[in-house]
Protein backbone atom coordinates (compact mmCIF):
# COMPACT_ATOMS: atom_id res chain seq x y z
CA UNK A 1 0.00 0.00 0.00
CA UNK A 2 1.52 3.35 -0.94
CA UNK A 3 2.16 5.72 1.90
CA UNK A 4 -0.35 8.52 2.10
CA UNK A 5 0.87 11.93 3.00
CA UNK A 6 -1.58 13.66 5.27
CA UNK A 7 0.43 16.79 5.81
CA UNK A 8 1.70 18.96 3.06
CA UNK A 9 5.15 19.59 4.43
CA UNK A 10 8.06 17.28 3.58
CA UNK A 11 9.72 15.34 6.30
CA UNK A 12 13.22 16.67 6.77
CA UNK A 13 15.46 14.17 8.45
CA UNK A 14 17.95 15.15 11.13
CA UNK A 15 21.64 15.51 10.22
CA UNK A 16 22.38 12.20 11.94
CA UNK A 17 19.56 10.60 9.98
CA UNK A 18 20.97 11.90 6.73
CA UNK A 19 24.42 10.61 7.59
CA UNK A 20 22.93 7.21 8.36
CA UNK A 21 21.01 7.22 5.10
CA UNK A 22 24.12 7.99 3.06
CA UNK A 23 26.11 5.52 5.11
CA UNK A 24 23.67 2.66 4.68
CA UNK A 25 23.56 3.20 0.92
CA UNK A 26 27.19 2.16 0.76
CA UNK A 27 27.30 -1.66 0.83
CA UNK A 28 30.98 -1.81 1.77
CA UNK A 29 30.47 0.41 4.77
CA UNK A 30 27.63 -1.81 5.95
CA UNK A 31 29.81 -4.88 5.59
CA UNK A 32 32.40 -3.10 7.71
CA UNK A 33 29.78 -2.20 10.30
CA UNK A 34 28.66 -5.84 10.52
CA UNK A 35 32.30 -6.83 10.89
CA UNK A 36 32.85 -4.40 13.73
CA UNK A 37 29.65 -5.54 15.44
CA UNK A 38 30.75 -9.14 15.05
CA UNK A 39 34.11 -8.31 16.65
CA UNK A 40 32.37 -6.50 19.53
CA UNK A 41 30.18 -9.53 20.20
CA UNK A 42 33.22 -11.80 20.05
CA UNK A 43 35.14 -9.56 22.42
CA UNK A 44 32.33 -9.94 24.97
CA UNK A 45 31.55 -13.62 24.43
CA UNK A 46 34.93 -15.08 23.43
CA UNK A 47 35.60 -17.01 26.68
CA UNK A 48 32.19 -18.70 26.39
CA UNK A 49 32.41 -19.58 22.70
CA UNK A 50 36.00 -20.75 22.56
CA UNK A 51 36.16 -24.57 22.62
CA UNK A 52 39.51 -24.64 24.45
CA UNK A 53 41.36 -22.39 26.86
CA UNK A 54 43.87 -19.92 25.46
CA UNK A 55 46.83 -21.80 26.90
CA UNK A 56 45.39 -25.30 26.97
CA UNK A 57 47.96 -27.68 25.45
CA UNK A 58 47.30 -31.04 23.90
CA UNK A 59 50.55 -32.91 23.34
CA UNK A 60 48.84 -35.41 21.01
CA UNK A 61 48.20 -32.88 18.25
CA UNK A 62 51.23 -30.70 17.65
CA UNK A 63 51.21 -28.53 14.52
CA UNK A 64 47.94 -29.95 13.21
CA UNK A 65 46.97 -28.22 9.92
CA UNK A 66 43.61 -26.45 9.60
CA UNK A 67 40.54 -28.62 9.15
CA UNK A 68 40.23 -28.08 5.36
CA UNK A 69 43.60 -29.73 4.93
CA UNK A 70 43.35 -33.56 4.43
CA UNK A 71 45.53 -34.03 7.51
CA UNK A 72 43.45 -31.62 9.59
CA UNK A 73 40.85 -32.42 12.17
CA UNK A 74 37.56 -30.60 12.60
CA UNK A 75 37.90 -30.48 16.36
CA UNK A 76 40.82 -28.12 15.86
CA UNK A 77 39.18 -25.94 13.27
CA UNK A 78 42.13 -23.70 12.43
CA UNK A 79 44.78 -26.21 13.41
CA UNK A 80 47.16 -26.17 16.35
CA UNK A 81 50.53 -24.59 17.03
CA UNK A 82 53.79 -26.15 18.15
CA UNK A 83 52.58 -26.56 21.74
CA UNK A 84 49.31 -28.19 20.71
CA UNK A 85 47.18 -25.15 21.46
CA UNK A 86 44.03 -24.70 19.40
CA UNK A 87 44.54 -21.67 17.15
CA UNK A 88 40.82 -21.02 16.75
CA UNK A 89 40.38 -20.63 20.52
CA UNK A 90 43.46 -18.46 20.75
CA UNK A 91 42.19 -16.19 18.01
CA UNK A 92 38.88 -15.84 19.88
CA UNK A 93 40.66 -15.01 23.12
CA UNK A 94 42.88 -12.63 21.21
CA UNK A 95 39.91 -10.52 20.13
CA UNK A 96 39.72 -9.16 23.66
CA UNK A 97 43.40 -8.36 23.76
CA UNK A 98 43.95 -6.80 20.36
CA UNK A 99 40.57 -5.35 19.45
CA UNK A 100 39.27 -4.75 22.99
CA UNK A 101 42.48 -3.13 24.08
CA UNK A 102 42.50 -0.81 21.08
CA UNK A 103 39.02 0.37 22.11
CA UNK A 104 40.19 1.02 25.69
CA UNK A 105 43.29 2.89 24.54
CA UNK A 106 41.38 5.01 22.06
CA UNK A 107 38.70 5.95 24.58
CA UNK A 108 41.30 7.01 27.14
CA UNK A 109 43.24 8.97 24.52
CA UNK A 110 39.98 10.54 23.35
CA UNK A 111 39.08 11.61 26.88
CA UNK A 112 42.36 13.40 27.58
CA UNK A 113 42.78 14.62 24.03
CA UNK A 114 39.31 16.09 24.06
CA UNK A 115 39.83 18.01 27.30
CA UNK A 116 43.20 19.47 26.34
CA UNK A 117 42.22 20.04 22.71
CA UNK A 118 38.99 21.81 23.61
CA UNK A 119 40.73 24.06 26.13
CA UNK A 120 43.55 24.96 23.76
CA UNK A 121 41.10 25.41 20.89
CA UNK A 122 38.96 27.83 22.87
CA UNK A 123 41.96 29.90 23.91
CA UNK A 124 43.77 32.31 21.67
CA UNK A 125 47.32 33.49 21.25
CA UNK A 126 50.34 32.23 23.10
CA UNK A 127 48.56 29.97 25.58
CA UNK A 128 46.77 28.13 22.81
CA UNK A 129 49.95 27.91 20.79
CA UNK A 130 51.92 26.49 23.71
CA UNK A 131 49.33 23.84 24.47
CA UNK A 132 48.92 23.04 20.81
CA UNK A 133 52.59 22.89 19.88
CA UNK A 134 54.03 21.44 23.05
CA UNK A 135 52.58 18.10 22.12
CA UNK A 136 53.84 18.32 18.55
CA UNK A 137 57.09 16.97 19.93
CA UNK A 138 55.32 13.88 21.18
CA UNK A 139 53.46 13.64 17.90
CA UNK A 140 56.75 13.42 16.08
CA UNK A 141 57.91 10.46 18.17
CA UNK A 142 56.37 7.46 16.40
CA UNK A 143 54.43 5.10 18.66
CA UNK A 144 57.01 2.38 18.18
CA UNK A 145 59.84 4.57 19.43
CA UNK A 146 57.64 5.63 22.33
CA UNK A 147 57.09 1.96 23.12
CA UNK A 148 60.82 1.28 22.99
CA UNK A 149 61.39 4.13 25.42
CA UNK A 150 58.65 2.86 27.76
CA UNK A 151 59.99 -0.70 27.57
CA UNK A 152 63.47 0.55 28.40
CA UNK A 153 62.08 2.21 31.51
CA UNK A 154 59.53 -0.25 32.87
CA UNK A 155 60.27 -3.45 30.97
CA UNK A 156 58.10 -5.29 28.46
CA UNK A 157 54.50 -6.20 29.15
CA UNK A 158 50.97 -5.57 28.05
CA UNK A 159 50.59 -2.53 30.31
CA UNK A 160 53.28 -0.55 28.53
CA UNK A 161 51.47 -1.07 25.24
CA UNK A 162 48.74 0.97 26.84
CA UNK A 163 51.14 3.76 27.71
CA UNK A 164 53.11 3.70 24.50
CA UNK A 165 50.19 3.66 22.08
CA UNK A 166 48.13 5.94 24.31
CA UNK A 167 50.83 8.58 24.66
CA UNK A 168 51.45 8.50 20.95
CA UNK A 169 47.74 8.86 20.24
CA UNK A 170 46.72 11.69 22.60
CA UNK A 171 48.51 14.42 20.60
CA UNK A 172 46.65 13.38 17.44
CA UNK A 173 43.33 13.86 19.18
CA UNK A 174 44.47 17.14 20.68
CA UNK A 175 45.50 18.40 17.28
CA UNK A 176 42.29 17.33 15.54
CA UNK A 177 40.03 18.78 18.22
CA UNK A 178 42.09 21.93 18.57
CA UNK A 179 41.91 22.51 14.84
CA UNK A 180 38.19 21.75 14.57
CA UNK A 181 37.21 23.93 17.53
CA UNK A 182 39.51 26.68 16.33
CA UNK A 183 37.98 26.63 12.85
CA UNK A 184 34.41 26.70 14.14
CA UNK A 185 35.22 29.52 16.52
CA UNK A 186 35.88 31.84 13.56
CA UNK A 187 32.38 31.39 12.16
CA UNK A 188 29.58 33.83 12.53
CA UNK A 189 27.05 31.69 14.32
CA UNK A 190 29.48 31.50 17.22
CA UNK A 191 29.66 35.27 17.32
CA UNK A 192 25.86 35.35 17.29
CA UNK A 193 25.75 33.01 20.27
CA UNK A 194 28.33 35.12 22.03
CA UNK A 195 26.23 38.23 21.46
CA UNK A 196 23.35 36.36 23.04
CA UNK A 197 25.47 36.22 26.17
CA UNK A 198 26.65 32.63 26.12
CA UNK A 199 29.80 31.98 28.12
CA UNK A 200 32.75 29.94 26.87
CA UNK A 201 31.55 26.66 28.30
CA UNK A 202 28.09 27.05 26.79
CA UNK A 203 29.60 27.96 23.44
CA UNK A 204 31.80 24.90 23.52
CA UNK A 205 29.11 22.46 24.60
CA UNK A 206 25.99 23.71 22.82
CA UNK A 207 27.27 25.71 19.86
CA UNK A 208 30.53 24.19 18.70
CA UNK A 209 30.29 20.56 19.76
CA UNK A 210 27.34 19.61 17.53
CA UNK A 211 29.44 20.70 14.56
CA UNK A 212 32.63 18.99 15.65
CA UNK A 213 31.59 15.49 16.58
CA UNK A 214 31.64 14.28 12.98
CA UNK A 215 35.32 15.10 12.64
CA UNK A 216 35.82 13.41 15.96
CA UNK A 217 34.12 10.18 14.93
CA UNK A 218 36.25 9.92 11.81
CA UNK A 219 39.36 10.48 13.89
CA UNK A 220 38.22 7.80 16.35
CA UNK A 221 37.77 5.16 13.66
CA UNK A 222 41.17 6.01 12.19
CA UNK A 223 42.70 5.82 15.65
CA UNK A 224 41.15 2.41 16.35
CA UNK A 225 42.60 0.90 13.20
CA UNK A 226 46.00 2.47 13.91
CA UNK A 227 45.85 1.20 17.50
CA UNK A 228 45.12 -2.38 16.41
CA UNK A 229 48.09 -2.30 14.04
CA UNK A 230 50.33 -0.77 16.72
CA UNK A 231 49.35 -3.28 19.40
CA UNK A 232 49.94 -6.15 17.00
CA UNK A 233 53.26 -4.72 15.83
CA UNK A 234 54.46 -4.33 19.42
CA UNK A 235 53.36 -7.87 20.20
CA UNK A 236 55.23 -9.08 17.14
CA UNK A 237 58.43 -7.34 18.23
CA UNK A 238 58.09 -8.87 21.72
CA UNK A 239 57.83 -5.40 23.22
CA UNK A 240 54.14 -5.68 24.09
CA UNK A 241 52.20 -8.81 24.91
CA UNK A 242 54.59 -11.57 25.97
CA UNK A 243 54.95 -15.13 24.77
CA UNK A 244 52.03 -17.27 25.98
CA UNK A 245 49.56 -14.45 25.42
CA UNK A 246 47.00 -14.95 22.62
CA UNK A 247 47.46 -11.38 21.37
CA UNK A 248 47.44 -11.65 17.58
CA UNK A 249 50.78 -9.97 16.91
CA UNK A 250 52.41 -12.07 19.62
CA UNK A 251 50.84 -15.17 18.03
CA UNK A 252 52.53 -14.29 14.73
CA UNK A 253 55.83 -13.95 16.58
CA UNK A 254 55.32 -17.31 18.32
CA UNK A 255 54.53 -18.99 15.01
CA UNK A 256 57.67 -17.57 13.43
CA UNK A 257 59.83 -20.54 14.51
CA UNK A 258 57.62 -22.90 12.53
CA UNK A 259 57.01 -20.62 9.57
CA UNK A 260 58.31 -23.15 7.06
CA UNK A 261 56.73 -26.23 8.66
CA UNK A 262 53.41 -24.72 9.64
CA UNK A 263 52.73 -21.46 7.81
CA UNK A 264 49.15 -21.35 9.16
CA UNK A 265 50.41 -20.44 12.64
CA UNK A 266 51.51 -17.14 11.10
CA UNK A 267 48.92 -16.72 8.36
CA UNK A 268 45.79 -17.12 10.47
CA UNK A 269 46.52 -14.48 13.14
CA UNK A 270 47.64 -12.17 10.33
CA UNK A 271 44.33 -12.65 8.53
CA UNK A 272 42.52 -11.93 11.80
CA UNK A 273 44.37 -8.62 12.17
CA UNK A 274 43.74 -7.78 8.53
CA UNK A 275 40.04 -8.56 8.88
CA UNK A 276 39.50 -6.40 11.96
CA UNK A 277 41.50 -3.44 10.67
CA UNK A 278 39.74 -3.68 7.32
CA UNK A 279 36.32 -3.70 9.01
CA UNK A 280 37.15 -0.61 11.07
CA UNK A 281 38.60 1.15 8.02
CA UNK A 282 35.53 0.35 5.93
CA UNK A 283 33.32 1.93 8.58
CA UNK A 284 35.60 4.94 8.79
CA UNK A 285 35.68 5.33 5.02
CA UNK A 286 31.91 5.02 4.75
CA UNK A 287 31.43 7.60 7.49
CA UNK A 288 33.80 9.99 5.81
CA UNK A 289 32.08 9.82 2.47
CA UNK A 290 28.67 10.01 4.18
CA UNK A 291 29.62 13.12 6.15
CA UNK A 292 31.63 14.92 3.48
CA UNK A 293 28.74 16.20 1.29
CA UNK A 294 26.81 17.38 4.34
CA UNK A 295 29.69 19.43 5.62
CA UNK A 296 30.06 21.29 2.36
Amino acid sequence: MPQIKIYKQDYISTPAGRVWKAFSHNPFALVGLWGVGFLLVLALLAPFIAPYGANEQNQQVLLLPPSWDPAGHVEYFLGTDDLGRDIFSRILHGVQMTFGMSLVIVSCALFFGFIIGAISGMMRGLKSSILGHLLDALLSIPSLLMAILVVAVIGPGLSNVFWAVGIAMVPQFIRTIHQAVHDELQKEYVTAARLDGANDLQILLYVIMPNVWEVLIIQVTMAISAAILDIAALGFLNLGAQAPSPEWGAMVAQGLDNLLLAPWTVTIPGVAILFSVLAVNLVGDGLRSAIAPIRK
Binding site: S140, L145, L229, F236, L237, V277
Partner: protein
Protein backbone atom coordinates in the same frame (compact mmCIF):
# COMPACT_ATOMS: atom_id res chain seq x y z
CA UNK B 1 57.51 34.67 4.06
CA UNK B 2 60.55 35.30 6.23
CA UNK B 3 58.41 35.74 9.28
CA UNK B 4 56.85 32.38 8.61
CA UNK B 5 60.27 30.85 8.06
CA UNK B 6 61.55 32.06 11.40
CA UNK B 7 58.42 30.85 13.15
CA UNK B 8 59.00 27.40 11.72
CA UNK B 9 62.66 27.46 12.75
CA UNK B 10 61.56 28.48 16.22
CA UNK B 11 59.10 25.65 16.29
CA UNK B 12 61.85 23.26 15.26
CA UNK B 13 64.06 24.31 18.15
CA UNK B 14 61.23 24.30 20.67
CA UNK B 15 60.09 20.85 19.57
CA UNK B 16 63.65 19.55 19.67
CA UNK B 17 64.08 20.86 23.19
CA UNK B 18 60.86 19.26 24.37
CA UNK B 19 61.90 16.01 22.77
CA UNK B 20 65.29 16.19 24.44
CA UNK B 21 63.55 16.84 27.75
CA UNK B 22 61.42 13.72 27.31
CA UNK B 23 64.53 11.72 26.49
CA UNK B 24 66.47 13.24 29.40
CA UNK B 25 63.67 12.38 31.79
CA UNK B 26 63.41 8.84 30.45
CA UNK B 27 67.18 8.35 30.68
CA UNK B 28 67.02 9.07 34.38
CA UNK B 29 64.19 6.60 34.78
CA UNK B 30 66.19 3.73 33.27
CA UNK B 31 66.61 1.02 35.91
CA UNK B 32 70.42 1.34 35.94
CA UNK B 33 73.05 3.70 37.26
CA UNK B 34 72.90 7.24 35.93
CA UNK B 35 76.47 7.25 34.69
CA UNK B 36 75.97 3.86 33.05
CA UNK B 37 72.82 4.98 31.22
CA UNK B 38 74.54 8.16 30.05
CA UNK B 39 77.91 6.82 28.95
CA UNK B 40 77.45 3.08 28.45
CA UNK B 41 80.55 2.22 30.50
CA UNK B 42 79.47 -0.61 32.78
CA UNK B 43 82.19 -0.65 35.45
CA UNK B 44 83.81 2.76 35.27
CA UNK B 45 87.06 3.34 37.09
CA UNK B 46 87.26 6.25 39.50
CA UNK B 47 88.67 8.62 36.92
CA UNK B 48 86.20 7.54 34.26
CA UNK B 49 83.41 8.16 36.73
CA UNK B 50 84.81 11.59 37.46
CA UNK B 51 85.11 12.29 33.75
CA UNK B 52 81.47 11.28 33.16
CA UNK B 53 80.13 13.33 36.02
CA UNK B 54 82.24 16.22 34.82
CA UNK B 55 80.87 15.95 31.27
CA UNK B 56 77.26 15.58 32.28
CA UNK B 57 77.51 17.89 35.35
CA UNK B 58 76.02 15.17 37.51
CA UNK B 59 76.66 17.12 40.72
CA UNK B 60 74.66 20.18 39.68
CA UNK B 61 70.91 20.68 39.62
CA UNK B 62 68.77 19.11 36.96
CA UNK B 63 68.55 22.18 34.70
CA UNK B 64 72.34 22.35 34.38
CA UNK B 65 72.37 18.59 33.90
CA UNK B 66 69.82 18.89 31.12
CA UNK B 67 71.84 21.58 29.34
CA UNK B 68 74.99 19.49 29.66
CA UNK B 69 73.09 16.50 28.32
CA UNK B 70 71.91 18.45 25.28
CA UNK B 71 75.39 19.81 24.70
CA UNK B 72 77.05 16.40 24.93
CA UNK B 73 74.54 14.69 22.68
CA UNK B 74 74.69 17.34 19.98
CA UNK B 75 78.47 17.48 20.01
CA UNK B 76 78.42 13.82 19.02
CA UNK B 77 79.12 12.25 22.41
CA UNK B 78 76.54 9.50 22.41
CA UNK B 79 78.52 7.24 24.74
CA UNK B 80 79.71 3.70 24.17
CA UNK B 81 77.46 0.90 22.99
CA UNK B 82 77.16 -1.50 25.91
CA UNK B 83 76.91 -4.44 23.60
CA UNK B 84 79.59 -3.87 20.98
CA UNK B 85 81.87 -1.53 23.00
CA UNK B 86 82.06 0.80 20.00
CA UNK B 87 81.26 4.52 20.13
CA UNK B 88 77.55 4.83 19.41
CA UNK B 89 78.09 7.78 17.12
CA UNK B 90 80.29 5.71 14.77
CA UNK B 91 77.68 2.94 14.65
CA UNK B 92 74.98 5.50 13.97
CA UNK B 93 76.93 6.78 10.98
CA UNK B 94 76.97 3.32 9.42
CA UNK B 95 73.32 2.42 10.06
CA UNK B 96 71.66 5.69 9.07
CA UNK B 97 72.59 5.59 5.35
CA UNK B 98 71.26 2.03 5.05
CA UNK B 99 67.91 3.17 6.42
CA UNK B 100 67.93 6.17 4.12
CA UNK B 101 68.55 3.94 1.13
CA UNK B 102 65.64 1.66 1.99
CA UNK B 103 63.16 4.43 2.77
CA UNK B 104 64.18 6.53 -0.24
CA UNK B 105 63.67 3.64 -2.63
CA UNK B 106 60.38 2.72 -0.97
CA UNK B 107 59.21 6.32 -1.08
CA UNK B 108 60.13 6.67 -4.75
CA UNK B 109 58.34 3.44 -5.65
CA UNK B 110 55.26 4.69 -3.80
CA UNK B 111 55.40 8.09 -5.47
CA UNK B 112 55.99 6.94 -9.04
CA UNK B 113 53.37 4.22 -8.88
CA UNK B 114 50.93 5.97 -6.57
CA UNK B 115 50.45 9.25 -8.41
CA UNK B 116 49.57 7.79 -11.85
CA UNK B 117 47.27 5.19 -10.32
CA UNK B 118 45.59 7.87 -8.24
CA UNK B 119 45.04 9.94 -11.37
CA UNK B 120 43.61 6.95 -13.19
CA UNK B 121 41.30 6.22 -10.26
CA UNK B 122 40.07 9.80 -10.32
CA UNK B 123 39.53 10.09 -14.06
CA UNK B 124 38.24 6.66 -14.91
CA UNK B 125 34.50 6.52 -15.25
CA UNK B 126 34.58 2.75 -15.18
CA UNK B 127 32.99 1.65 -11.89
CA UNK B 128 34.96 -1.59 -11.83
CA UNK B 129 38.33 0.16 -12.13
CA UNK B 130 37.36 2.64 -9.43
CA UNK B 131 36.14 0.04 -6.97
CA UNK B 132 39.06 -2.28 -7.52
CA UNK B 133 41.60 0.51 -6.99
CA UNK B 134 39.80 1.70 -3.87
CA UNK B 135 39.43 -1.82 -2.50
CA UNK B 136 43.06 -2.57 -3.18
CA UNK B 137 44.27 0.57 -1.44
CA UNK B 138 42.01 0.00 1.55
CA UNK B 139 43.39 -3.52 1.91
CA UNK B 140 46.93 -2.25 1.57
CA UNK B 141 46.22 0.32 4.23
CA UNK B 142 44.81 -2.30 6.61
CA UNK B 143 47.42 -5.00 6.15
CA UNK B 144 49.78 -5.47 9.11
CA UNK B 145 53.23 -4.77 7.71
CA UNK B 146 55.06 -7.50 9.62
CA UNK B 147 52.67 -10.09 8.30
CA UNK B 148 52.98 -8.76 4.77
CA UNK B 149 56.76 -8.91 5.02
CA UNK B 150 56.70 -12.47 6.32
CA UNK B 151 54.25 -13.60 3.66
CA UNK B 152 56.23 -12.00 0.85
CA UNK B 153 59.51 -13.47 2.06
CA UNK B 154 57.92 -16.88 2.50
CA UNK B 155 56.45 -16.73 -0.97
CA UNK B 156 59.11 -15.07 -3.13
CA UNK B 157 62.10 -15.84 -0.98
CA UNK B 158 61.54 -19.40 0.19
CA UNK B 159 58.86 -21.08 -1.91
CA UNK B 160 59.80 -19.56 -5.25
CA UNK B 161 63.41 -18.80 -4.35
CA UNK B 162 63.57 -15.71 -6.54
CA UNK B 163 64.83 -13.11 -4.13
CA UNK B 164 67.10 -13.03 -1.08
CA UNK B 165 65.25 -12.24 2.13
CA UNK B 166 67.80 -10.94 4.56
CA UNK B 167 70.57 -8.40 4.70
CA UNK B 168 71.72 -5.69 2.37
CA UNK B 169 74.13 -7.62 0.17
CA UNK B 170 75.62 -11.10 -0.05
CA UNK B 171 78.45 -11.32 2.48
CA UNK B 172 80.80 -12.70 -0.18
CA UNK B 173 81.11 -9.26 -1.74
CA UNK B 174 83.55 -6.99 0.04
CA UNK B 175 82.36 -3.47 -0.58
CA UNK B 176 84.15 -0.55 1.00
CA UNK B 177 81.59 1.93 2.34
CA UNK B 178 82.00 5.37 0.73
CA UNK B 179 78.57 6.95 0.76
CA UNK B 180 76.93 4.25 2.85
CA UNK B 181 74.35 3.69 0.11
CA UNK B 182 75.01 0.14 -0.99
CA UNK B 183 73.69 0.68 -4.52
CA UNK B 184 76.08 3.58 -5.10
CA UNK B 185 78.98 2.02 -3.22
CA UNK B 186 78.94 -1.11 -5.36
CA UNK B 187 79.14 0.99 -8.51
CA UNK B 188 81.87 3.19 -7.08
CA UNK B 189 84.05 0.32 -5.92
CA UNK B 190 86.98 -0.54 -8.17
CA UNK B 191 86.74 -4.29 -7.77
CA UNK B 192 86.19 -6.63 -10.71
CA UNK B 193 82.83 -7.85 -9.38
CA UNK B 194 81.12 -4.49 -9.07
CA UNK B 195 78.34 -5.21 -11.54
CA UNK B 196 77.34 -8.57 -9.99
CA UNK B 197 77.58 -6.91 -6.58
CA UNK B 198 75.29 -4.11 -7.73
CA UNK B 199 72.76 -6.62 -9.06
CA UNK B 200 72.98 -8.54 -5.81
CA UNK B 201 72.41 -5.40 -3.75
CA UNK B 202 69.45 -4.53 -5.95
CA UNK B 203 67.95 -8.00 -5.49
CA UNK B 204 68.31 -7.64 -1.72
CA UNK B 205 66.55 -4.31 -1.84
CA UNK B 206 63.46 -5.38 -3.78
CA UNK B 207 61.46 -7.24 -1.11
CA UNK B 208 61.98 -4.83 1.81
CA UNK B 209 61.41 -1.81 -0.41
CA UNK B 210 58.15 -3.20 -1.78
CA UNK B 211 56.94 -4.15 1.70
CA UNK B 212 57.70 -0.69 3.01
CA UNK B 213 56.23 1.01 -0.05
CA UNK B 214 52.75 -0.45 0.44
CA UNK B 215 51.60 2.02 3.08
CA UNK B 216 52.77 5.27 1.40
CA UNK B 217 51.59 3.91 -1.95
CA UNK B 218 48.02 3.40 -0.74
CA UNK B 219 47.91 6.76 0.98
CA UNK B 220 49.29 8.56 -2.06
CA UNK B 221 46.78 6.85 -4.36
CA UNK B 222 43.86 7.84 -2.13
CA UNK B 223 44.95 11.43 -1.63
CA UNK B 224 45.90 11.96 -5.27
CA UNK B 225 42.51 10.64 -6.26
CA UNK B 226 40.66 12.94 -3.88
CA UNK B 227 42.71 15.96 -4.87
CA UNK B 228 42.29 15.24 -8.58
CA UNK B 229 38.54 14.91 -8.19
CA UNK B 230 38.45 18.31 -6.54
CA UNK B 231 40.80 19.99 -8.99
CA UNK B 232 39.02 18.66 -12.07
CA UNK B 233 35.87 20.47 -10.97
CA UNK B 234 37.57 23.85 -10.87
CA UNK B 235 36.73 26.51 -13.41
CA UNK B 236 40.28 26.82 -14.73
CA UNK B 237 40.16 23.21 -15.86
CA UNK B 238 36.97 23.95 -17.75
CA UNK B 239 38.63 27.01 -19.25
CA UNK B 240 41.54 24.87 -20.41
CA UNK B 241 39.09 22.40 -21.90
CA UNK B 242 37.29 25.23 -23.67
CA UNK B 243 40.56 26.35 -25.19
CA UNK B 244 40.72 22.93 -26.81
CA UNK B 245 43.74 21.56 -24.98
CA UNK B 246 44.41 17.88 -25.02
CA UNK B 247 43.25 16.05 -21.86
CA UNK B 248 46.77 14.82 -21.23
CA UNK B 249 48.15 18.37 -21.33
CA UNK B 250 45.44 19.55 -18.99
CA UNK B 251 46.23 16.85 -16.47
CA UNK B 252 50.00 17.28 -16.59
CA UNK B 253 50.16 21.07 -16.73
CA UNK B 254 47.03 22.32 -15.00
CA UNK B 255 45.64 19.66 -12.72
CA UNK B 256 48.58 17.69 -11.33
CA UNK B 257 50.62 20.59 -9.90
CA UNK B 258 47.58 21.65 -7.91
CA UNK B 259 46.68 18.13 -6.90
CA UNK B 260 50.21 17.51 -5.63
CA UNK B 261 49.87 20.09 -2.85
CA UNK B 262 47.66 18.00 -0.54
CA UNK B 263 49.79 14.96 -1.39
CA UNK B 264 52.87 16.80 -0.14
CA UNK B 265 51.08 17.72 3.06
CA UNK B 266 49.95 14.16 3.68
CA UNK B 267 53.51 12.91 3.16
CA UNK B 268 54.56 15.18 6.01
CA UNK B 269 51.85 13.80 8.27
CA UNK B 270 52.65 10.23 7.31
CA UNK B 271 56.35 10.38 8.27
CA UNK B 272 55.94 9.04 11.80
CA UNK B 273 53.94 6.01 10.71
CA UNK B 274 56.36 5.47 7.86
CA UNK B 275 59.25 5.39 10.32
CA UNK B 276 57.40 2.83 12.47
CA UNK B 277 56.83 0.63 9.46
CA UNK B 278 60.44 1.09 8.40
CA UNK B 279 61.66 -0.19 11.75
CA UNK B 280 59.48 -3.30 11.51
CA UNK B 281 60.50 -3.98 7.91
CA UNK B 282 64.17 -3.66 8.83
CA UNK B 283 63.71 -6.17 11.64
CA UNK B 284 61.96 -8.69 9.40
CA UNK B 285 64.46 -8.47 6.55
CA UNK B 286 67.50 -8.05 8.86
CA UNK B 287 68.31 -4.83 7.06
CA UNK B 288 71.36 -3.30 8.76
CA UNK B 289 69.65 0.04 9.34
CA UNK B 290 68.80 2.17 12.32
CA UNK B 291 65.54 0.33 12.99
CA UNK B 292 66.95 -3.15 13.47
CA UNK B 293 69.87 -1.58 15.35
CA UNK B 294 67.44 0.11 17.72
CA UNK B 295 65.31 -3.00 18.24
CA UNK B 296 68.34 -5.17 18.95
CA UNK B 297 69.40 -2.38 21.30
CA UNK B 298 66.19 -2.73 23.29
CA UNK B 299 66.45 -6.53 23.39
CA UNK B 300 69.91 -6.22 24.91
CA UNK B 301 69.00 -3.20 27.05
CA UNK B 302 71.71 -1.20 25.34
CA UNK B 303 70.67 2.11 26.86
CA UNK B 304 73.03 4.37 24.92
CA UNK B 305 71.94 2.83 21.63
CA UNK B 306 68.29 3.33 22.58
CA UNK B 307 68.86 7.00 23.32
CA UNK B 308 70.87 7.64 20.18
CA UNK B 309 68.42 5.78 17.97
CA UNK B 310 65.35 7.51 19.32
CA UNK B 311 67.09 10.88 19.24
CA UNK B 312 68.24 10.57 15.64
CA UNK B 313 65.01 9.15 14.27
CA UNK B 314 62.75 11.67 16.01
CA UNK B 315 65.00 14.58 15.13
CA UNK B 316 64.88 13.50 11.51
CA UNK B 317 61.11 13.25 11.62
CA UNK B 318 60.72 16.65 13.27
CA UNK B 319 63.09 18.23 10.78
CA UNK B 320 61.53 16.62 7.72
CA UNK B 321 57.96 17.32 8.75
CA UNK B 322 58.72 20.98 9.43
CA UNK B 323 60.62 21.20 6.14
CA UNK B 324 57.72 19.68 4.24
CA UNK B 325 55.27 22.02 5.96
CA UNK B 326 57.48 24.94 4.98
CA UNK B 327 57.74 23.83 1.34
CA UNK B 328 54.01 23.30 1.33
CA UNK B 329 53.44 26.89 2.39
CA UNK B 330 56.12 28.24 0.07
CA UNK B 331 54.74 26.70 -3.10
CA UNK B 332 51.10 27.17 -2.22
CA UNK B 333 49.95 30.80 -2.41
CA UNK B 334 46.57 29.86 -0.93
CA UNK B 335 48.07 29.03 2.44
CA UNK B 336 49.92 32.34 2.52
CA UNK B 337 46.57 33.98 2.24
CA UNK B 338 45.46 32.11 5.33
CA UNK B 339 48.54 33.24 7.21
CA UNK B 340 48.45 36.94 6.53
CA UNK B 341 45.01 37.43 5.01
CA UNK B 342 46.79 38.97 1.99
CA UNK B 343 48.79 37.66 -0.91
Amino acid sequence: MWRYFFRRVNLFFATTLVMMAVLFYATHQFPVDESYALSGISNPSAEQLEHISDEFKLNSNSVVQFLAYVEQRFSGNMGMSINSQQPVFEELKTVLPASFELSLVAGLIALFLGVPIGVIAALSSNKFVQWSILGLTLTGYSIPVFWLGLTLSLWFGVNLGWLPISGQINLLYQIKPITGFMLIDTLLSDSSYRIPAFVDALMHLILPAITLAVLPFTLIVRITRQAMLQVMNQTYIRAAEARGLHTFTIIIKHALPNAMIPVLKSIGIMLGTFACYGIIVEVIFSWPGVGSWLVSGIYQRDYTVIQAGILSVSLLIIFLSILIEFIHTAINPMSKKELYATN
